[in-house]
């Protein structure tokens, strides 16, 4: 049987990768993709817990469904924002967009 910690560590690594991507990528779409990775890592943990802790009555899976719904909403709004950025700045590199500074 696969130990629970395997899944958790895998989730942790993917989450950290996502964090790294979100922190460093210049392309806004790439940042969104990194965030999706993070959400997925969280989902993996949820589902792993739901599998290994049967007394939780699949709460983990229910929450994974909510996370997926939220991720869908986030992607839709995020991409709309990216398109808006592109229309106004002709670029999607977030470090070139710094109008909101002092």
């Amino acid at each position: 049987m696969i130990p629970l910690s395997h899944y958790l560590i895998l989730g942790g690594i993917i989450f950290s990768l996502g964090v790294f991507g979100a922190l460093t990528r210049r392309n806004a779409i790439a940042i969104l993709m990194s965030i999706e990775l993070m959400l997925n890592a969280v989902n993996l943990n949820f589902i792993a817990f739901a599998r290994y802790l049967p007394q939780t009555m699949l709460q983990g899976q229910v929450f994974a469904i909510f996370v997926i719904a939220v991720a869908a909403a986030e992607a839709a709004v995020g991409l709309a924002i990216v398109l808006g950025l592109y229309r106004n700045f002709k670029t999607v590199n977030v470090d070139e967009i710094n109008l909101m500074k002092w």
């Binding site: 942790g12 989450f15 993709m33 290994y52 469904i65 709309a80």
Partner: protein, 163 residues
């Protein structure tokens, strides 16, 4: 038993590779394609965790919906063959420290304090159970999420519309 572990390691490696390409790849489209593979690998891991329904939902929504949106946005905002000189910004080192620090914390949390549990040999069919749970115990969050989706849809339309 070892076979299942082997499958897990294979899927984990595949997913990690895909995730790494997503985060580190130079070409944004390649990243997106790798993201699709990553999602599929994740879905396979869900199947390994007896969550077939969620695996199908994952493929349906992430692959069939979100990545298509992503590819759409990529096509509208970048051109083929034009690879920017830098794909990362100038806070890589600090970010790497933060990410690795987070990773260490997560691994520490994952390995300590959690006993090596093994769930029931096989979960019963989950889809009806989830359906019932969503409409009874979790009815309120369910409605909240549907309102959120509606709001997101309206917001996205308003944002993306040309004046």
């Amino acid at each position: 038993m070892t076979l299942k572990l082997g499958i897990f390691y294979f899927l984990a490696a595949f997913t990690l590779w895909a995730a790494a390409v997503v985060v580190l790849g130079k070409n944004i489209v390649r990243s997106a394609v790798a993201l699709i593979f990553g999602f599929c690998g994740m879905a396979a891991l869900y199947v390994l965790l007896d969550a077939e329904f969620l695996a199908a939902v994952q493929v349906l929504i992430y692959v069939g919906g979100i990545t298509i949106l992503l590819l759409f946005a990529i096509m509208l905002t970048s051109r083929i063959g034009v690879t920017t000189a830098r794909v990362v910004n100038d806070q890589v080192i600090l970010s790497a420290i933060a990410a690795i620090g987070l990773l260490v914390g997560l691994i520490y949390a994952s390995t300590s304090g959690i006993p090596a549990m093994s769930g029931p040999p096989r979960l019963p069919e989950t889809a009806p159970f989830l359906g019932r749970a969503l409409l009874t115990t979790y009815a309120l969050p369910f409605e909240a999420v549907s309102v959120l989706l509606l709001a997101a849809m309206v917001g996205a339309i308003v944002l993306a519309r040309k004046e």
